[in-house]
């Protein structure tokens, strides 16, 4: 099995994110591997462990994104590639999916691609489906379980977690899978893995390297990013001599305020 896992570097979810001079800032908080992508890396590694093969981590981003790729390597990926080009500085999902699909085409011979369901920064959550569409491969999004994988017969059966229940879907490989948190518990990088990651050379592919003669620009514009207005709430503490009295007072207040 030739497995690819697409990842992104993001700001840590514990960070306080602010806007300074129109630019998004997370202060000194270090950048991390997008938390959703940890599940994708883990599933790629488990697939390899069960069926053999190679796992390649791929990211599109600036040079710093190599740190996220190193984390994927430290978890156990065999190799990593960074797609990077000044042309991708202003990117959106349409352009990103084009670049990732082109990189996958360049690699050739990929059986299965994993993504996290979304990223914790811009939360667009459409890249996996868009990459699948560009490659004309089946899109298996929001997968909570890979029930069956048959590398020889080139088929996969998964459970997709939709709002109204789990849909069981079967298709032929190659396919693009986006995973949800329920699918597994990501491993921590091992000491050996970290040492190996620090020594692994991560090749850089430019737009031209992946065969994009016409570099796709973003079709979205972002005229403004702002902090939501601070809601000044003063918490009204409900007190009373007994839980029942507190509960009655609380219900009274919620009815008065027309919440209920």
């Amino acid at each position: 099995m030739n497995i690819l896992v697409g990842i992104k570097q993001t700001i840590d979810t514990a960070a306080t994110v602010t806007v300074e001079g129109g630019k998004i800032s997370a202060g000194e908080t270090p950048l991390v591997l997008n938390p959703w992508d940890e599940f994708a890396v883990e599933e790629a590694l488990r697939t390899k462990e069960a069926h053999g093969g190679q796992v390649t981590a791929l990211s599109l981003g600036p040079d710093e994104a190599k740190e996220a790729l190193k984390q994927a390597l430290a978890m156990g990926c065999d190799s990593a590639v960074l797609v990077t080009d000044p042309a991708f500085e202003q990117t959106d999902s349409l352009a990103t999916s084009k670049a990732i699909a082109a990189a996958i085409t360049k690699m050739g011979d990929i059986d299965l691609v994993f993504f996290g369901r979304t990223t914790v920064d811009y939360d667009t959550g459409v890249t996996a489906a868009q990459v699948a569409r560009r490659l004309n491969w089946p899109s298996l999004s929001l997968v909570a379980d890979v029930s069956e994988l048959d590398p020889a017969g080139k088929s996969i059966t998964v459970e997709r977690m939709l709002e109204d229940g789990r849909q069981v879907v079967r298709c032929k490989l190659p396919a693009v899978v986006s995973v949800v948190k329920e699918i597994n518990e990501p491993r921590y990088p091992s000491f050996m893995g970290i040492r190996k990651a620090s020594r692994t050379e991560i090749p850089e592919w430019s737009a031209a390297d992946i065969g994009l003669t016409e570099v796709p620009g973003a079709v979205l514009r972002w005229p403004e990013v702002f902090a939501p207005p601070k809601v000044e709430t003063r918490c009204e503490l409900i007190e009373g001599g007994s839980p029942d009295e507190i509960a009655r007072k609380m219900v009274d207040r919620l009815v008065e305020e027309k919440v209920i």
């Binding site: 700001i11 979810t13 514990a14 306080t16 994110v17 806007v19 998004i24 959703w36 999902s93 349409l94 999916s97 914790v120 811009y122 667009t124 959550g125 459409v126 489906a129 868009q130 569409r133 089946p138 899109s139 999004s141 929001l142 059966t157 997709r160 939709l162 709002e163 109204d164 229940g165 789990r166 849909q167 069981v168 879907v169 079967r170 298709c171 032929k172 948190k181 329920e182 979205l220 514009r221 972002w222 403004e224 990013v225 702002f226 902090a227 939501p228 709430t233 918490c235 009204e236 409900i238 839980p243 029942d244 507190i246 509960a247 609380m250 219900v251 919620l254 305020e257 919440v259 209920i260």
Partner: protein
């Protein structure tokens, strides 16, 4: 046509979430701004009723593809069909409610039509003939205004409960046009369904009662003798607490939520998780029980209209966001609330 809006009606087996009708309402607002018309698009099996409902909620007309072969949502078939219809009619805007299905579908149609997609919007205005949409980023820690200046259609998905539910007018008439979809090869096959959703879904819920790590902190309940492992004892205690939370949610017709700490500790399944790596929700009432309020959790529920916090620790950050608070033991307060609401609502 310029100014026209297509609204895709998301549904599961003919049951549409309320957000589909909120999308029709938002579509009507957009069409009025651009002097265009609203066309609802319905794919499925035995779903003519949904086309009529869309018209009663304000759509001017509906395109209906109704056949047994469309019973199950299939990304490639639905995307191919929708892209085809949109190409023919050239609307300015293609609008979706936000769900797992529609993010996939909208993303694929955007690729087919080489246009932009702005998911999960909470507000919009018109600017120089384009929709200037507002959407949360970093799970609501920041907001971004986004637009698609040059490509059409502009593809948008609207966040559930961010737009008002339109009023239904059963007298309103509109043409339902049946369309035959081209035979597009489905690339995957639906084998079946498991765990069909029970209870109220988190994103649709008007009221959410949530539990955190504090739910396991119940010294009064003692686990059965055969539960000896400390971790299992903790989970056993927490489940007693979540049972109380579930009763309160049931009395209020709401859904049960949880913090990441509660999910990671194995108290409840992940599908209940509210927060930056769970669901982002904005109910009318959010009752947080034994949740201290980590920044990731607050990001997922801060837009709730009214927040009630119940926590033993009066310094818990959740009280900074809550309108009403009780400093006390959820094991005392939650059952008392259930009783008080039951009396009041009966």
């Amino acid at each position: 046509m310029a100014g026209d809006v297509f609204v895709y009606i998301d549904h599961f087996g003919g049951q549409a979430p309320l957000s589909s009708w909120e999308a029709v309402g938002a579509g009507v607002q957009l069409a009025q701004a651009g002097s265009g018309k609203v066309t609802a698009v319905v794919f499925g099996d035995g779903v003519e009723g949904l086309a009529q409902t869309a018209i009663s909620f304000g759509a001017d007309e509906a395109l209906l593809a109704d056949s047994a072969s469309l019973k199950d949502y299939s990304p490639e078939r639905f995307a191919g069909a929708l892209s085809g219809l949109v190409k023919q009619a050239s609307p300015d805007v293609l609008l979706f409610p936000t769900s797992g299905r529609t993010r996939e579908l909208a993303g694929m149609v955007a690729v087919d039509l080489e246009t932009g997609i702005i998911p999960d919007i909470v507000e919009f205005e018109m600017k120089d003939g384009a929709v200037l949409a507002t959407r949360p980023i970093y799970a609501g820690k920041l907001m971004a205004r986004v637009l698609i200046p040059d490509r059409r259609p502009q593809i948008l998905t609207i966040r559930t409960r961010a737009f008002p539910m339109p009023a239904a007018d059963s007298e309103k008439s509109g043409t339902v046009t049946r369309v035959d979809l081209p035979e597009v090869q489905a690339l995957s096959e639906v084998v079946g369904y498991k765990e069909a959703g029970g209870g109220v879904s988190l994103t649709d819920a008007g009221i959410i009662v949530s539990g955190g790590r504090g739910v396991s902190n119940n010294p009064k309940a003692s686990p059965p003798a055969d539960v000896t492992d400390p971790k299992e004892q903790e989970i056993w205690r927490a489940r007693q607490g979540f049972a109380l939370i579930g009763e309160l949610a049931q009395v209020l017709g709401g859904a049960v939520g949880a913090s990441r700490a509660a999910v990671d500790s194995g108290y409840v399944p992940y599908s209940h998780q509210v927060g930056q790596t769970g669901r982002v929700v904005s109910p009318d009432l959010y009752i947080a029980c034994g949740i201290s309020g980590a920044i990731q959790h607050l990001a997922g529920m801060r837009t709730s209209k009214t927040i009630v916090a119940i926590n033993k620790d009066s310094d818990a950050p959740i009280f900074k966001l809550a309108q009403f608070g009780v400093v006390g033991d959820l094991y005392d307060v939650v059952p008392a609330l259930t009783k008080a609401f039951r009396e009041r609502l009966s």
